[in-house]
């Protein structure tokens, strides 16, 4: 047995261990580095600003974005679109709807579309990934073959294919189309990290302890496999916004445009690009900035979580 004196000494060491040991948890040190990374700060700033905008936009927008308040000033024949005027700082769109209100409220839909698409994609990917990664064997083989086939079609093609399946085009079809593209990506990613977890010693230890399979998967494997997935999801939010815009551009966006969404505003402004570029610039600018925000945050998180970059 250890003598009491030595025990105490070791106790003391353990007490002081927290601040002297070299290893600091991955998450904590990642966060420490993130807080100092200008990339992250800029990105997070952008995202916060836009999320805030989306939340307060109903208060900021003075008009109902669906109403054609300036319809009289629209003339197809003379190519007239309402100019900025009192009460309408940005004028109207090609149907005479208030542009500023649409740009403001567009933030809600755009973020929602991106978020839902990513959440659905993530959900699907998680399910596939967990199935494949947790069970292995033929489940893994089967799931991965499905994923392979999905991945063998270039992403936009897949999105367009899925989008075209729906009779009525709506924001919902856009979400599903964009989400479908993400499923195999998340699935593969998660499977990889899950498999790595499955072979890891701490999972082996849990198994040796007789912990139940379900609890091993959800308490030990999943939480540790999620890091890269979360990073990917952040990056995917940017991709989702851009993909949704591309679908709108190809004519697969929501048919009903009364609720504004930037991608769809940009898509429908393409015919006016030469003569009324501001119709495209506002939504495009917003898309680029938000996408940039998510990309910055995702990239900086990836860097921060990269064990190679520690030190």
């Amino acid at each position: 047995m250890l003598g009491t004196q030595r025990k105490e000494r070791i106790d003391g060491l353990a007490e002081s261990g927290g601040d002297t040991t070299a290893g600091v948890s991955l998450a904590a040190s990642a966060w420490r580095r993130l807080r100092r990374s200008p990339t992250f700060l800029v990105g997070a700033g952008i995202i916060c600003a836009f999320v805030l905008l989306a939340l307060v936009s109903p208060l900021l927008a003075q008009h109902d974005p669906a109403l054609r308040l300036l319809e009289e000033q629209v003339s197809r024949a003379d190519n007239e679109i309402p100019a900025p005027q009192p009460g309408f700082p940005l004028g109207g769109d090609q149907y005479g709807r208030p542009l500023l209100s649409r740009v403001l409220l567009g933030s809600q839909q755009t973020l929602l579309v991106a978020l839902l698409a990513t959440v659905i994609g993530l959900g699907g990917g998680l399910t596939l990934g967990i199935l494949a990664g947790a069970f292995g064997g033929w489940v893994d083989t089967l799931v991965m073959r499905v994923v392979d086939v999905m991945l063998s079609v270039p992403s936009l093609l897949l999105a367009v294919s899925i989008g075209a399946l729906f009779q009525q085009q709506s924001q919902f079809t856009v979400i599903i189309a964009v989400a479908t593209v993400q499923i195999p990506i998340f699935g593969r990613l998660l499977r990889g990290t899950m498999l790595a977890q499955r072979a890891s010693d701490h999972v082996l230890a849990a198994r040796a302890l007789g912990v139940r399979q379900r609890s091993i998967v959800f308490r030990h494997m999943l939480p540790n496999a999620l890091g890269p997935v979360i990073v990917q999801a952040t990056l995917m939010l940017a991709v989702a916004i851009i993909d949704a815009a591309a679908l709108s551009f190809l004519g697969l966006g929501a048919a009903d445009t009364s609720t504004p969404e930037w991608g769809q505003m940009l898509g429908s402004a393409q015919n006016f690009f030469d003569t009324h570029p501001h119709l495209a610039f506002w939504p495009a600018g917003c898309i680029i900035v938000v996408a940039l925000g998510f990309t910055l945050v995702g990239e900086s998180m990836r860097d921060a979580l990269d064990p190679k970059k520690r030190r």
Partner: protein, 527 residues
């Protein structure tokens, strides 16, 4: 092609076409992009006046019909040769007619012989009697066409591009009738793809599918005024803003169907924007199949009052668009001015709905996506505008949108769409070509079968078509038009939109046609 390289190519015009031609045999075609090309190379017995819709002589110099309207005799122009050097004569005319009439198998598909079926009905050996009976060639310059009955379509229908005269020798040599259904489409003959042979001012040079351009060259042996251009190139540019940019950057010399929004700026930059006489109609269709409320005349009238067509034309339609009072433009026979007009009156609409017992009427309003048509340049805008109007009149609108080819057309044609947007571009000057196709059947998009007058209307249209006496016929059509607006109102005509055509300032001599049937023989480039 190679041989001409490096030399001065003389006058070349590049025209931006919105779509690719399917083939170069107009008989099997029914789309404007094919006709745009074949029209330059081929001619029919009759043609349409330059800039108008009236019939005038082309390969036939004169014609007359028997009193019962079943025997048509054509005097043919002399000294006309096909591009392959063979003679155009009465035998060639009959060879063409017989080719059309004797189509078999795939050739009888309405996806191919659409205009034949529309105009002449059936084929040889069909149960259904064809309008065509026989063709005789008593002498080389006289062709006689025998019909089974009189029709209002003659002789104007013969001016349709599908019925252009093509060289029997070439057609035989390159197996023109060899079309096959393959997968979900048709594979055309070598003739139709590479060797179209007509009598027109231009002849076929090449179709560069890699670059999506069709090249024609001048026919130096043309019987009439020779074309001024040496070469005429149609370049396929499907996107309308790209067509505009190409024109601006000098890549093309002109293009069709500009975006109405661009007209103004194009004009300001000295481009020659020519707005054609409208020869189409956009209507608010109503189907009496699903929604019983729409079987009530008062409800339909209420809808007619509810929509603000003036505003629609102003805000959503291009320069030169007009509010439509009838289902066809005034240049067509039988036009009546004194019909019920239904000017915008939401209060009245509400009242009528009340009276009909449908004060809280709910309708499905269908509109198409992924399409623009000459009569409907911006379906979403038009829908938005009309739906707004209807809502103001207290009607609950349930929007239904489908891709044009992704279910819209097929569902509307089944009569499944309660209220919908659709239109028609006329082929030639005949009321039958408009209202005959609309209401000649009771089980189509309008589904007039449940209406007490549905059958009757169809019969009246049929009778008018069969009337050989032009004056009498015109009166019958006028009557029908009046009743259509007041008693029946199966749909609400909305507007006639003129499709425009744009050319660069150096392009001279282009005469537009209401039928969008421009001929480029008269065009020259003056830089």
């Amino acid at each position: 092609v190679q041989s001409q390289r490096g030399e001065d190519n003389g006058q070349t015009m590049v025209f931006g076409a919105p779509g690719a031609p399917a083939l170069f045999d107009p008989f099997y075609a029914s789309d404007g992009e094919t006709f745009r090309v074949t029209r330059q190379m081929m001619e029919g017995l009759v043609g349409f006046e330059s800039g108008g819709v009236e019939v005038e002589p082309e390969l036939a110099t004169d014609w007359n019909s028997s009193d019962d309207g079943t025997k048509w005799t054509f005097q043919l122009r002399e000294g006309v040769k096909f591009h392959d050097g063979t003679d155009f004569n009465a035998e060639a005319v009959c060879a063409n007619f017989e080719r059309w009439y004797n189509q078999t198998g795939t050739g009888q598909s309405s996806a191919l012989s659409y205009y034949w079926i529309e105009t002449f009905g059936g084929f040889a050996g069909d149960d259904e009697p064809s309008l065509f009976s026989s063709c005789e060639a008593p002498d080389p310059t006289t062709a006689v066409i025998n019909l089974t009955r009189a029709t209002s379509k003659f002789p104007a229908a013969l001016g349709l591009d599908s019925f252009s005269m093509q060289s029997p020798t070439a057609m035989k040599k390159y197996e023109a009738d060899k079309v096959e259904a393959k997968g979900s489409g048709f594979e055309y003959s070598e003739y139709a793809r590479k060797h179209p042979t007509g009598t027109g001012p231009f002849e076929f040079d090449s179709y560069d599918q890699n670059n999506q351009s069709v090249e024609l060259r001048r026919n130096d042996d043309y019987w009439g005024d020779k074309a001024k251009l040496d070469r005429l190139i149609f370049k396929v540019i499907s996107d309308e803003s790209v067509r505009k940019q190409e024109l601006l950057s000098g890549g093309i010399d002109g293009y069709d169907f500009p975006n109405p929004a661009d007209l103004d700026s194009l004009r300001q930059q000295d481009f020659n924007v020519q707005v054609r006489e409208p020869f189409n109609v956009l209507y608010l269709g109503m189907s009496q199949k699903k929604n019983p409320a729409l079987r009530k005349l008062k409800v339909r009238k209420a809808l007619a009052y509810a929509v603000n067509r003036e505003n629609l034309v102003n805000a959503n339609l291009p320069d030169g668009a007009k509010v439509a009072n009838l289902f066809y433009p005034s240049s067509v026979d039988g036009y009546a001015d004194d019909v019920a007009k239904y000017s915008y009156d939401p209060e009245k609409a509400k009242r009528l709905l009340n009276e009909a017992g449908h004060s809280d009427l709910t309708i499905e309003f269908w509109w198409p996506t992924q399409v623009t048509r000459p009569y409907m340049p911006d379906p979403r805008g038009i829908f938005n505008s009309l739906a707004g109007d209807m809502r103001k009149a207290g009607i609950n609108v349930k929007p239904v949108s489908k891709p044009w080819n992704g279910g819209y057309i097929s569902d509307v044609n089944k009569g499944d769409a309660e209220v919908f947007l659709l239109g028609w571009t006329g082929d030639y000057n005949s009321p039958d070509n408009f209202i005959g196709t609309f209401f000649g059947s009771t089980e189509n998009q309008f589904y007039t079968k449940p209406a007490p007058w549905g059958e009757k209307l169809a019969n009246r249209l049929d009778a008018a078509d069969k009337e050989p006496d032009p004056t009498k016929r015109e009166r019958m059509y006028t009557e029908i038009n009046r009743d259509l607006k007041s008693k029946y109102l199966p749909a609400v005509p909305l507007s006639h939109s003129p499709p425009a055509i744009v050319t660069a300032p150096h392009v001279k001599g282009l005469v537009t046609s209401p039928l969008t049937a421009e001929e480029f023989a008269s065009v020259s480039i003056e830089k």
